[in-house]
């Protein structure tokens, strides 16, 4: 009787941990998406030192979630053996976590390159920023990222690594994860079907977005499409030997 009660308690504790990890995974996905939206503003006319600061804060948040999630997922994997109900879910979370890390690392690499091209240290650097037509973009997205809540409390005073160090750290993390745990990536079945994300709600608003993207084509007299004035040219590109 005692043993049964203990194992039920264990199962419940594990379920709670797994749901915590799922929430953390969702939070990580949100933070990474916000980070990506903010990096698209880098180097453009909306770039500013405040945007850079917000990027740093978002990066710190992501770093905290990553380390916590990594530790907990590893512990869960060690605990559960093959064949138990939660194992499949934990494996799925593991693979999703790897994908998130990879995507985040790519964005971080881009950010470090863009920081080199567009340093905002001097006033004249502002002239080099590309006029892209955007007007705002940094603050709202950053606010969205900042309200992401982690399901656990980090009492640890972890040091925030700098950009390059962070990239290398993630690299090492991914390598370690792949070597330590032997989960084949293709054994994970997705829960979403193809085309399932297209749904009815929210489409009226987006219709206007599509309508706004349509710009009238300036009517051309002779040319249907072609890169040069040669009548045989049907290529829409510059690599045309008929010139």
């Amino acid at each position: 009787m005692n043993r049964w009660r203990r194992s039920v308690g264990e199962i419940q504790a594990r379920r709670r941990q797994v749901s915590e990890c799922e929430q953390a995974q969702a939070a990580l996905g949100k933070v990474i998406a916000c980070f990506q939206q903010m990096t698209t503003c880098m180097g453009s006319n909306t770039d500013s030192s405040s945007l850079r600061e917000e990027l740093e804060e978002t990066r710190t948040l992501a770093h905290r979630i990553c380390t916590g999630l990594h530790r907990r997922l590893l512990a869960l994997l060690v605990e559960t053996e093959q064949g138990q109900e939660d194992r499949e879910q934990v494996e799925r979370l593991w693979v999703l976590f790897l994908c998130c890390l990879e995507s985040f690392q790519q964005d971080l690499r881009r950010v470090s390159t863009l920081e080199e091209i567009f340093p905002l240290t001097q006033r004249k650097d502002r002239q080099a920023l590309v006029n892209t037509g955007a007007v705002g973009g940094g603050p709202e997205v950053a606010a969205r990222a900042a309200i992401v809540k982690m399901p656990w409390v980090t009492g640890d005073g972890e040091q925030r690594p700098d950009m390059r160090g962070h990239v290398l750290e993630i690299d090492g993390l991914i390598q370690e994860m792949l070597q330590r745990v032997n989960i084949p990536l293709w054994s994970v079945e997705p829960m979403q079907k193809a085309w399932a994300e297209a749904c009815k709600d929210g489409q009226d608003e987006e219709d206007t977005l599509e309508a706004m993207m349509e710009v009238e084509v300036v009517s051309q007299a002779n040319r249907a499409f072609g890169c040069c004035s040669h009548s045989n040219c049907r290529l829409g590109c510059i690599f045309c030997l008929l010139n």
Binding site: I32, A33, C34, Q36, Q37, T40, M42, S44, N45, R92, V95, L96, L98, C99, C100, E102, S103, R109, R110, L114, I117, Q127, V130, N131, T132, G133, A134, V135, G137, E140, V141, R144, A145, I174, L185, W186, S187, P190, A194, W195, E197, A198, Q203, E206, T208, L209, E210, M213, V215, V218, Q220, F225, C227, H230, N232, G236, C237, I238, F239, L241
Partner: protein
């Protein structure tokens, strides 16, 4: 996590794309508020989006800033659009610069092409999913096809992709309406460059991945390195020996290279007029001046060209020393011919050229002769190599220069034709394209070659000739 292939023969590096850095610098200069391109606002449905530039302004700025003429400015501008640094608003799938009032906008640096990273399939899948979320059924046919394929290949990541698509859409909704429009323009332009629609060409296409990482440190040395790229039909072996001989070779052959100098009368691939090929057939009576000039570059060039070899044979016939060339040709035939015919050919060659008292006895030194005769007892493809090389050097050092000074060569130099370049109008080009006919069958040319060979290889029997002369006396 991306599943990586192992069996790629080590070829997973992108080549150098030095042009991208230079174009980046140009685009940054365009942004200068004082001396850059003037931009204006695009007004749509009571919102206005700034920083739109017109095609003619771009071409005018490039013309003045880089001091080039209008045609080159147009080409440069098209390059900017093709690489994705500037995107068109009105006809987004055609990546050219129209020098009229068409509208363009600069791409944000996040979406600039870079040598270091490729556009990833995962990101493309997220983009397609985002568009799907925005409006069902908006994907084009080819995009739906790619979506299906990506769903199959990236199946293990599909949850992540859908999740990211939803999160990115929600994050985008936090922004202002005009910014969302701009971002969707930018994304669409990026993916048109990096995942081009079918039957269009992407400027980022570079063929096969390379074996050597261009970003790695180079080891500079004088030794020559072999660079082998696994391009399907062409084997590229580039010898990087001391550069002066390469420069000399390039300067000599510059006028003969159809990529560098337009070939006379006209390039048949471009104008559909095959006079060039007809003038360079191996059995033509009068060769072109270019061919004749090429014979004087080196002995091997002369031998390589069948018309040149025929001419050389004529010269040797006059000099009564045709046995050298005949031996060289027979040795070539042995080397490249069928394995079953080797012993037979070896015997004929021995009887004709090498045996003491043979009708066409060649004059090689005693050591080579001894080696060759010994080797001919067990003939293989390369028995005659030593003798052939000796004869080749003999001909090259002695006979070749006499040939170049001979009346035969000078005669042919005078008679050689130098065709005038064609200047076809567009109507004539279309006419040519319509009048295209199939060329000669290879079997016909081969039969002609065989007939020619039979006609010319009636070897002059020296003994009989001397006997005739003695008889007459």
């Amino acid at each position: 996590m991306t599943i990586k292939l192992i069996r790629d023969h080590g070829q997973h590096y992108r080549p150098r794309m030095a042009c991208l850095k230079k174009v980046e610098a140009l685009v940054i200069e365009m942004q200068d508020p004082k001396s850059g391109v003037k931009s204006f606002e695009q007004k749509r449905n009571a919102t206005s989006i700034p920083h739109v530039i017109a095609g003619q302004d771009i071409t005018a700025w490039i013309t003045s800033h880089m001091t080039v003429d209008a045609q080159e400015a147009q080409a440069l501008g098209t390059m900017l659009v093709a690489y994705g640094f500037i995107y068109p608003l009105q006809d987004p799938k055609t990546l050219i610069l129209r020098p009229d009032g068409s509208l363009y906008r600069c791409q944000t640096p996040y979406f600039w092409p870079a040598q270091k990273w490729k556009a990833q399939d995962t990101d493309y899948a997220i983009y397609l999913a985002k568009r799907n979320i925005r409006k069902k059924g908006i994907l084009d046919q080819y995009e739906q096809e790619r979506y299906r394929k990506l769903h199959k290949w990236l199946n293990h990541k599909w949850d992540f992709i859908v999740n990211q698509a939803k999160e990115q859409t929600r994050a985008g909704k936090a922004r202002m309406k005009s910014d969302r429009v701009v971002f969707s323009y930018q994304e669409r332009a990026y993916w048109i460059v990096h995942r081009p629609p079918p039957q269009t060409h992407s400027a980022m296409d570079y063929g096969v991945d390379r074996l050597i990482d261009p970003n790695a440190e180079e080891v500079k040395g004088e030794a020559y390195t072999l660079i082998w790229c696994r391009v399907p039909s062409v084997l590229l072996i580039v010898l990087l020996s001391c550069s002066s001989s390469l420069v000399k070779h390039t300067m000599t052959y510059q006028s003969h290279d159809p990529f560098l100098t337009p070939c006379l009368p006209s390039n048949p691939w471009q104008t559909d007029d095959d006079t060039y090929w007809a003038l360079n057939m191996p059995d033509v009576d009068l060769p072109t001046k270019m061919t004749v000039e090429r014979w004087s570059y080196g002995f091997y060039e002369l031998l390589r060209d069948p018309r040149g070899r025929a001419d050389f044979r004529l010269f040797l016939k006059k000099e009564f020393s045709g046995e050298n060339l005949a031996f060289w040709e027979a040795a070539e035939e042995l080397k490249w011919g069928a394995a079953s015919a080797i012993s037979e050919k070896a015997e004929t060659i021995f009887k004709t050229f090498l045996a003491p008292g043979a009708p066409c006895w060649i004059n090689i030194d005693g050591r080579t002769m001894g080696l060759t005769v010994k080797g001919l007892q067990h003939p293989h493809r390369h028995v005659l190599d030593a003798a052939q090389n000796h004869i080749f050097m003999l001909m090259k050092k002695d006979t070749f220069y006499r040939y170049l000074k001979s009346p035969v060569y000078k005669d042919i130099q005078k008679k050689a034709i130098s065709p005038a370049p064609h200047n076809f109008t567009d109507a004539q080009l279309e006419q040519n394209a319509r009048n295209r006919k199939p060329g000669l069958y290879p079997s016909v040319t081969w039969q002609r070659q065989q007939k020619e060979k039979v006609r010319t290889t009636t070897l002059i029997d020296i003994k009989k000739l001397m006997a005739n002369k003695l008889d007459r006396q």
